[in-house]
């Protein structure tokens, strides 16, 4: 057991730090041209798609280097390495694993260069947690699929260029996981209609997406017909270490401690209240647990041991922390805590009030906490399926 890094890994960390010191101005000083320049720079260093093989333009970074890169980026408060989160997180890895050579050449460079934005068409009105039961229909007609159906809660759909779409090509199947086919579809295809949905924070990031006789060329199918479920599963498994997240959570905890230090309750410093102090320490214990869980799971991967569904452990911690830390900040600061940006009484510019309305994006997207519990109970503990 040791927590040291090899000289090569230390050198890599130093390289990242040096780059950030030179190329990442403080948030307030980031001008209009910053983002374009930033994306070009990190792309040139092959840090975009850092885990992807070199032959597809990735950085071929080791697992440890990926963790270092994520940690340093998060520590510095750096912006994302690309404009298409989903393209980088699972569409690209899915295409690398299941795509044809032609698909790789066609899609991967644009993802790496932030030229296209992807969204993900999984959930349907009647099939969210029970994802494998999806009903959006794709019929083979000559060299096309004809798609009819509806997706919902499609984050990014209002501005996405492409959608990775889960459809059903077979309805008479023994297992609902069979007969699913994954298609890559341009969002400007005739027959697609996007209706944004306003969320409780007032944002319109997600949408309903309707498909009416949408024609998708067969060459846009990812993986085999009827085997789309495997594509989905392995693509989602591409989300690896939670180290970047943990760094962000520690930063948020520091902000919360600063809030405690500057807050009084009943005329007395909140920082002297044992109940307040205990809550802060409980958050710290959970975040530290996430950190060391992540390092244990990373070690397993480095040793070539298979990871089961252990990553659900940290997803559950993150879900509860996302909700509870904001909620604690609101409770701590009384009626000032519920003031939104724009109110002169807003706490920290309304940051906590605002994010207290934003957690479902993290907590529910990618599998609700109860789905994570099912995964742990069934896949790790071996309990019966529902």
């Amino acid at each position: 057991m040791d927590f040291d890094f090899t000289p090569e890994e230390q050198a890599f960390r130093a390289e990242v730090r040096e780059f950030l010191a030179e190329n990442l101005p403080p948030r307030a000083e980031r001008g209009r041209g910053f983002m374009g320049e930033w994306l070009k720079q990190v792309r040139n260093r092959r840090w975009v798609g850092f885990s992807w093989p070199e032959e597809y333009g990735g950085g071929a970074g080791s697992l440890t280097e990926q963790a270092i890169l994520k940690e340093e980026m998060a520590l510095a408060g750096a912006p994302p390495l690309g404009t298409s989160f989903m393209g980088l997180a699972w569409v690209g890895p899915g295409i690398i694993q299941y795509g044809t050579d032609e698909q790789k050449q066609r899609f991967i460079p644009d993802i790496l260069d932030s030229k296209v934005n992807w969204c993900t068409g999984y959930s349907e009105p009647n099939h969210g947690s029970d994802l494998a039961a999806i009903q959006t229909k794709a019929e083979r007609v000559g060299d096309h699929y004809r798609v009819n159906g509806q997706k919902i809660w499609t984050t990014g759909a209002p501005w996405a260029d492409w959608i990775i779409l889960l459809t059903r090509t077979e309805f008479e199947v023994e297992r609902k996981h069979d007969g699913i086919t994954c298609l890559l579809v341009p969002m400007d295809s005739p027959g697609i209609e996007v209706r944004p949905i306003e969320n409780m924070a007032g944002d319109r990031n997600f949408a309903e997406v309707f498909f009416t006789d949408v024609q998708v060329p067969v060459e846009n199918r990812l993986g085999e017909e009827g085997k789309g479920w495997a594509v989905t599963i392995s693509a989602l498994a591409n989300e690896r270490s939670s180290i970047g997240e943990v760094t962000q959570m520690f930063a948020k905890l520091e902000s919360l401690k600063n809030l405690v230090r500057s807050t009084t309750r009943q005329g007395k410093p909140a920082a002297d209240d044992p109940a307040v102090r205990r809550r802060i320490a409980e958050f710290e214990a959970k975040i530290a647990a996430m950190k060391y869980n992540g390092l244990r799971y990373l070690t397993k991967q480095l040793r070539g041991e298979p990871l089961s569904s252990e990553t659900s452990v940290n997803k559950l911690h993150r879900a509860s922390l996302e909700i509870e830390m904001d909620d604690f900040a609101l409770e701590l600061t009384g009626l000032a805590g519920v003031q939104l940006p724009g109110s002169e009484d807003a706490v920290d510019g309304g940051r906590w009030a605002r994010s207290s309305l934003g957690w479902p994006g993290v907590v529910i997207g990618g599998g609700t906490p109860n789905i994570q519990r099912n995964i742990i109970a069934e896949r790790i503990l071996g309990l019966p399926k529902d």
Binding site: M1, R278, A281, N293, H317, L381
Partner: protein, 357 residues
């Protein structure tokens, strides 16, 4: 970067697991009455577990707390009654704070298991602080030391005392003290009150407040390491039951009220396991980080294992309540774990202070 165990450590784990299965199953654990199980103790000594963290120069193996962690996790899994934690704390305290003479005399005897130690630090059961140490004196001792761990199994006691402006640790021959065994919930963790009437200790040495805190942290980490194995045993026992017990035509583990609680147990155990491994590593490799690491681990485990102990019994229904069924033994252990070397509130409050509040 390698946050995992080595091949040697994995072999050690297998050895302990085999010992616990063959020599010290729960049927044997149930027969314990607080006295030292001599034959098991001899075997543990022969296997080198008592010598593990004693330096080679003093007849030990010269390994570290993270190696001992493996032993504690697996003995904890089977609720071993062996006083390995007390023995390890005696070795740690003497190795860190005593002079060469005391080390040369006592460490080899600890490593060989000839001297069996009970440890008594704080007289006040809810005050982990030098002020919680009340027994006075160092050359001759008169008074009582309460909450001496493994007291009924020990041949010797390591006790904390105070003199004018110093804290001391003294080694007392158990035969020189009058011991009153105190019945407790967990019979595998016996306590006693040692009454001393003009007793001259066999050895004495001053200990700094920092070293006392370090020793207490080692105790907190040790208890948490045992709790990992114990909590995993509860989860395994309860999962098996949930898979086999049929109600309303289904195994009860199919119902989310049951399966989600078991999943949450897994989340908690994984988490205090990670925190405890890091703390055990920090004892030898990063002692500056130990106070924070130990407090986060013990705080998390104290609450989580207490809940696991209760739910392990509760999810079994009435059979969990019976004396015959093993779940109750773990519930009893969890009550001891929660309070030993500081409960969740003590450690969370301490972690908040360390974290700058």
């Amino acid at each position: 970067m390698d946050f995992g165990f080595s091949e040697e450590q994995n072999l050690l784990r297998e050895q302990v697991l085999r010992f616990m299965t063959e020599a010290c199953p729960l049927s044997v654990v149930r027969t314990q009455n607080g006295a030292l199980p001599r034959e098991l103790w001899r075997q543990a000594a022969d296997l080198g577990w008592l010598a593990l963290i004693v330096p080679e120069a003093y007849g030990g193996v010269g390994l570290k707390w993270i190696d001992l962690a493996v032993v504690l996790e697996e003995t904890g899994r089977g609720l071993s009654p062996l006083p390995i934690i007390s023995q390890a704390l005696a070795a740690t305290a003497i190795g860190r704070s005593a002079g060469d003479g005391v080390k040369g005399e006592w460490l080899p005897r600890i490593a060989a298991g000839e001297a069996v130690f009970g440890v008594g630090l704080y007289d006040d059961p809810t005050w982990i602080d030098p002020q919680g140490i009340r027994l006075e004196g160092v050359r001759t001792l008169t008074g009582a030391k309460r909450y001496v761990s493994d007291a009924t199994a020990a041949t010797h006691f390591l006790l904390a005392t105070r003199t004018d402006d110093e804290l001391n640790l003294v080694i007392v021959d158990a035969n020189h003290a009058t011991l009153t065994a105190q019945p407790g919930i967990d019979r595998t963790k016996p306590f006693g009150t040692a009454t001393l009437d003009g007793v001259a200790p066999l050895a004495a040495f001053p200990i700094s407040a920092d070293d006392l805190a370090f020793l207490t942290d080692c105790g907190a980490v040790a208890v948490t390491l045992e709790a990992i194995g114990a909590a995993e045993a509860v989860l395994e026992l309860t999962t098996e039951y949930a898979n086999n017990r049929i109600q309303f035509d289904n195994p009860i583990g199919k119902y989310q009220g049951v399966k989600h609680r078991l999943a949450d147990m897994f989340v908690d155990i994984e988490s205090f396991k990670s925190l405890a491994y890091y703390a055990a590593w920090a004892i030898d490799e990063a002692p500056d980080e130990l106070p924070r690491a130990a407090s986060l681990a013990k705080a998390y485990a104290s609450d989580a294992f207490a809940r696991i102990g209760i739910d392990g019994v509760g999810l079994h229904g009435a059979i969990g309540f019976t004396a015959e069924y093993d779940a109750q033994l773990y519930l009893k252990r969890s009550k001891w774990v929660r309070s030993a070397f500081g409960d969740a509130d003590y450690h969370y409050q301490r972690a908040a202070a360390i974290g700058g509040l």
